[in-house]
């Protein structure tokens, strides 16, 4: 029943080994080991569930994995549904709460995990029948509860919010959208909107229609007899009802007529994320499959790949540069990528294209080729240490409809790849003249010169084309002092400002899905208290009262620096521009810019303690639109904190922004003041 096929590792010819050694040279490898790729035992249950058993008695443990054989699903307005459904499966069953299920799994010393297309359990041999029952309960009778869905939704939205400003995440989304198109399952982007659109019924429908036995595999690996596996499969999944699955058919994504540049403008970027990508006609098991793996690894497979050696070692543009190629029976995918310093964006694109041309136009050298083949063959041999590798091979053969001896012949086929074949697949698969080149970066600094690679287009972070940013043309003839005076006048007339005695602002601050209470009281001149609290408990309090400064964060006093004092002084005024004119501040007009579609004037402010920040005033109304402050953090580069001011309201003739976004890169705080009062007769004592 179980048969082994013997293959010889081809690495090098072998010689009789002399016991005397020559230390000056690396030893010659021994006789190549026999690589054994076992054939799993296979059978199918009446409901169509296909079962594989890879028996391996080395350790007294067993795992079972259910794998769904389905293509990507177009989820449209509910993008992200199958991922959420996968995670929700293991959060409780009809009989057990999440806590009870977790305890039951761990009592068996085992583990259980689920995702959109996989579900698996593992444990020691003696507990395996019990943990199989839990897998069955999770898959056949999941709770899919609203409460657990809401917990997951909150976590998912936090993660999406955190990624909105993450250049690599933006690059991934936009590359997929542009390469596959919005009408292809692989081109969809999960957003806060699509996640919010998902309800429990959608999840239930997904599980019901896709998790069906006649479209799934159950794979046992470990210390288990095939007969025992069969009995467990029958007992736990024999009653699983059949369903229908029709494989979707997506139109092949269009290939661009010519290479073009897609810029996603991210003004805060100090590095550009450059991706050169396209679809490729490549399926697993096709004649180009194994040669394409060799070709891609030579091009950009790691720290010995050509992209790495060129962009990092030779030119120092970046910390890393890599390529990847992926076969798929719908449509394959190729991408070369690197994160490079702003000023090297153009050169990096040029060098990536040079390497693509190079591997197409010139045959790879013998040493480079044989070292790469040795490396890949060694990796194949080492992967067999994990018995799950055999199971993965069997699954891959089944779902990709590969010849039964695909992995048994893998090393022979790898050995047969020669320099001509590498060049042939490079020429067939890589087309430098028809690439999507996506650049996420600071458009103002990097766009110039890129038109030589093709038309330059602009996209938002969800891959929708937009107009090119227009260079703001604002009147820069004002002196800094005149500008400050205009900014003060915009806040309120002299009379209105003179009449202002106190201000009280109340509202909410939302941070990563959590809502906090936000309160600020200002007593003119020079007193201010700001608190952020949750359920009545202060999380942050910063104050300047009677010339005394204090900052408390999560119950801890922060050390008071000059910088902090200046910030607190500013917070005690509705028109800090008055401070800038009165005290030892330095002011410099930097130029025009655009913020949120508005033309603004960028002013650099240097405080008496020599801290530099930027303030952006609306070029028409002179109201403050944004502030920005950058700080060098050791080992971490430059950290930038931006604040945006919106929804100005007029209260007693004073303009007060009722909304504020504090953007610290990885974290954003949205402040909304819903209750604004002035001149309520506030006293110093009220602030303490």
């Amino acid at each position: 029943m179980k048969k082994f096929i013997y293959i010889t590792l081809f690495i090098l010819p072998f010689f009789a080994m002399a016991q005397k050694i020559d230390r000056t040279k690396a030893p010659v490898p021994g006789k190549a080991p026999l690589i054994q790729v076992a054939d799993p035992v296979k059978f199918t249950l009446a409901n169509g569930l296909q079962v594989f058993v890879v028996k391996n008695t080395k350790l007294p443990r067993v795992s079972a994995t259910l794998a769904l054989d389905r293509d990507g699903i177009k989820e449209g307005e509910k993008a992200g549904l199958s991922d959420l459904a996968g995670q929700l499966l293991k959060r409780g069953t009809e009989k057990k709460s999440k806590a009870e299920l977790d305890e039951a799994v761990e009592y068996l010393g085992g583990s259980l995990s689920t995702s959109s297309q996989y579900a698996s359990v593992s444990s020691l041999k003696n507990n395996f029948p019990k943990i199989m029952e839990l897998l069955s309960e999770v898959m056949l009778h999941p709770a899919l509860s609203t409460v657990e869905l809401e917990k997951l939704r909150t976590q998912t939205i936090s993660a999406i919010e955190a990624n909105k400003d993450e250049p690599n995440a933006i690059a991934n989304n936009v590359v997929n959208k542009l390469v596959y198109g919005a009408n292809h399952a692989y081109g969809e982007i999960t957003t806060v909107k699509t996640v919010n659109a998902i309800n429990v019924e959608d999840v239930k429908n997904y599980v019901k229609s896709y998790w069906i036995p006649n479209n799934a595999y159950l794979i046992f690996v470990g210390d288990i007899e095939p007969a025992v596996a069969k009995a467990l499969a029958e007992k736990n999944f024999g009653t699983w009802a059949k369903g229908n699955y029709t494989r979707p058919n997506y139109d092949k994504p269009a290939i661009p007529a010519t290479t073009y540049i897609a810029i996603v403008d991210r003004p805060a970027s100090v590095q550009s994320v450059v991706s050169v990508a396209s679809t490729v006609n490549l399926t697993k098991g096709s004649p180009n499959d194994i040669p394409s793996i060799v070709m891609n690894n030579i091009l950009g497979g790691g720290s010995s790949g050509r992209l790495f050696l060129n962009l990092r070692e030779k030119h120092g543009f970046t910390y890393g540069a890599y390529s990847s190629i992926r076969p798929d029976h719908q449509i394959g995918f190729f991408k070369a990528e690197s994160s490079v310093r702003n000023e090297k964006t153009d050169s990096a694109i040029q060098e990536i294209l040079n390497e693509l041309n190079n591997i197409r136009n010139t045959k790879v050298g013998d040493t480079e080729l044989s070292q790469m083949k040795n490396y890949l063959a060694g990796g194949f041999a080492r992967s067999l240490e994990d018995p799950a590798t055999i199971a993965n091979f069997a699954l891959s053969i089944a779902v990709n409809h590969l010849p039964a001896d695909y992995y048994q012949k893998y090393l022979t086929n790898l050995a047969a790849v020669n320099a001509s074949k590498v060049q042939e697949v490079a020429t067939a698969l890589l087309n430098p003249g028809k690439m999507h080149i996506v650049v996420v970066g600071n458009a103002k600094q990097i766009a110039k010169g890129l038109e030589k690679y093709g038309p330059v287009k602009y996209f938002d972070i969800e891959g929708n084309e937009m107009a090119a940013p227009v260079e703001a043309k604002v009147d820069l003839s004002l002196t800094p002092v005149a500008l400050m005076e205009k900014a003060i006048a915009a806040i309120g007339s002299k009379e209105a400002l003179d009449n202002l005695k106190d201000v009280q602002l109340k509202g909410t601050a939302s941070v990563m899905g959590q809502s906090l209470e936000m309160k600020q009281s200002i007593l003119i001149p020079g007193n201010s208290v700001t608190t952020m609290s949750m359920g009545g408990m202060a999380i942050m309090r910063q104050a300047v009262v009677d010339g005394k400064y204090s900052v408390t964060q999560q119950g801890q006093e922060a050390p008071i620096t000059d910088d902090l004092k200046e910030g607190l002084d500013e917070s005690a005024s509705l028109a800090p521009e008055q401070l800038y004119l009165a005290k030892g501040y330095g002011l410099k007009i930097i130029g025009g810019d655009k913020v949120g579609g508005k033309e603004v004037i960028d002013v650099e402010v240097t405080t008496p303690s020599k801290k530099v920040s930027h303030r952006f005033y609306d070029a028409k109304t002179f109201l403050l639109i944004k502030t920005s402050k950058s700080e060098e953090v050791p080992g971490r580069g430059t950290m930038t904190q931006q604040q945006f001011y919106n929804a100005y309201q007029t209260v007693n003739g004073i303009q007060i922004p009722s909304e504020m976004i504090i953007d610290m890169g990885q974290m954003k705080i949205n402040v909304k003041y819903t209750d604004i009062k002035v001149n309520q007769g506030l006293k110093i004592a009220d602030l303490k």
Binding site: M17, Q19, K20, R23, T24, A26, P27, P29, G30, P33, L34, I35, K58, L59, P60, R61, A99, D102, E103, E106, Y107, G109, G110, L124, N126, N127, S304, Q371, N374, Y375, L376, A377, G378, A381, R382, L384, E385, M512, Q514, Q520, M534, M537, Q542, Q553, Q554, G555, Q556, A558, E570, V633, P634, G635, R636, M639, Q641, Q643, I662, M664, Q666, M667
Partner: protein
């Protein structure tokens, strides 16, 4: 909550302890005349071999004015040897389809390569060259200083909470060399002269301070001849090794501090002084650690993360060593959670362990988890080679790999209660609060 005095139940409980037997690891152990210890484990289930060399030198052996040396050598000894050109060490490994890496602790430094099994000789050559002929030269020292600087940036300065071990150690120990972490001081590395590096190499990188542990698809009689050929000619070390025998006095009262770091979420780090590894208390502590944070149903995860949603992440870390170690309990606060509230709740989870015996089912659950872990730890040749070498160096007992489960099975609920009461006390701990550096300044 369980009350004290359930010793009868405990006795009964002992009878139904974990029965599962894990596979025995057969091995052969011997010593060459130059003092090199060799451990060989033969297993033909996959065509792979792990070749490893463990040197009994860690940061605790360092001169107090030259901290970071042991870890620095982990980098320096990939530079090249008399017969391996600079930068080619890794090329030999990857060109043979292999994988290599190394790591340093406060007690020892470990190097290993994983190869297709016909490349075992290459592993012997590389490791014997490293021991016999490493080039300790200025150019390599300069290069690796930069690399270590970059590593410190990436792994300690730039990683959120990355400095916590360093910050904990310097407060938890006053006299023992465990008071500094393996990365050590860049100033010390900069100040060191070349001959100090040469001296360190000659002192510690000698056969009589090393265990060569090889596991996998090997033929033992044949391999022994080759080991003799590659390692036999290496001379025994004669320089005196620094082996500190310092007993750290009790902490003498709770130590508290606040660290400002580049983080978004506040964190609590509690480090309790703990016994050294290998004794009964050590095994009880590992059981206790699993009760606290082993899996989704563990106490810290269930109470602090799931039910009360106070923490985004919790973990207990047994930080055990050759000399007295630490038991660390940490929690990262959710957005908007007061750090003192989190700490109070962490304390009450710990206090519950001191107030009574752990329930029988929960205790059995943790035992079952540990049994599984012990089996899984024997899944890879690299893991087996490392366990054999660690056990030999720390306890003079490579066979502990086969008997350790018994030590866990002997741990009772009373033992867990005892270590909790003896060690998990306020005056025996360092508490650090990690707070974000940047404060949002409202307008």
């Amino acid at each position: 909550m369980q009350k004290l005095g359930n010793s009868l139940l405990t006795g009964l409980f002992l009878l139904c302890l974990v029965q599962a037997k894990s596979q025995t690891i057969q091995f052969e152990k011997y010593t060459l005349p130059n003092g090199l210890k060799i451990i060989l484990h033969e297993d033909h289930s996959a065509p792979v071999v792990a070749v490893s060399a463990l040197y009994h030198v860690g940061s605790k052996n360092e001169d107090t004015a030259r901290t970071g040396f042991a870890h620095f050598f982990e980098h320096l000894l990939f530079e090249g040897t008399d017969n391996i050109k600079r930068g080619e060490f890794d090329k030999y490994v990857s060109g043979a389809g292999g994988y290599s890496n190394a790591n340093t602790t406060q007690d020892r430094t470990f190097y290993f390569e994983l190869f297709p099994s016909n490349q075992v000789d290459l592993g012997l050559w590389l490791e014997s060259e490293r021991m016999m002929h490493a080039k300790v030269e200025q150019v390599g020292v300069n290069t690796q200083r930069e690399v270590v600087k970059e590593e410190k940036r990436q792994r300690i300065d730039n990683r959120p909470y990355g400095s916590f071990i360093t910050e904990v150690l310097k407060r938890a120990y006053k006299v023992h060399p465990y008071r500094w972490f393996t990365i050590g001081s860049l100033e010390h590395l900069n100040a060191a002269k070349l001959d100090e590096f040469v001296q360190f190499y000659k002192t510690y990188y000698v056969p009589n301070n090393c265990v060569l542990s090889i596991a996998g698809d090997i033929n033992i009689p044949e391999l022994k001849k080759k080991i003799e050929a590659y390692f036999g000619p290496i001379a025994k070390g004669i320089l005196v090794m620094n082996r500190p025998s310092i007993k750290e006095p009790p902490l003498g009262g709770e130590v508290r501090d606040v660290i400002y770091d580049n983080i978004q979420l506040a964190g609590v780090f509690q480090a309790y002084r703990a016994p050294k590894q290998g004794g009964n208390e050590y095994y009880a502590f590992n059981v206790l650690s699993n009760i606290l944070s082993g899996g989704e149903s563990s106490r810290m995860n269930k109470v602090l993360v799931d039910n009360k949603q106070l923490a985004a992440a919790v973990q207990s870390v047994p930080f055990f060593n050759e000399d007295d170690g630490l038991f660390i309990s940490l929690g990262i606060a959710n957005v908007g959670v007061n750090i003192d509230t989190l700490e109070k709740n962490m304390d009450s989870v710990i206090n519950e362990l001191k107030n009574g015996l752990v329930g029988e089912r929960e205790f059995q659950k943790v035992k079952n988890q540990i049994t599984t872990e012990m089996v899984n730890s024997k899944a890879t040749m690299a893991g087996i080679a490392e366990s054999l070498a660690n056990n030999e160096v720390y306890f003079g007992d490579a066979n502990l790999i086969n008997t350790e489960l018994e030590k866990y099975n002997k741990v009772t609920r009373q033992d867990v209660l005892n270590v909790a009461k003896k060690y998990l006390n306020k005056d025996n701990r360092v508490v650090l609060h990690y707070l974000p550096k940047e404060k949002p300044t409202a307008k």
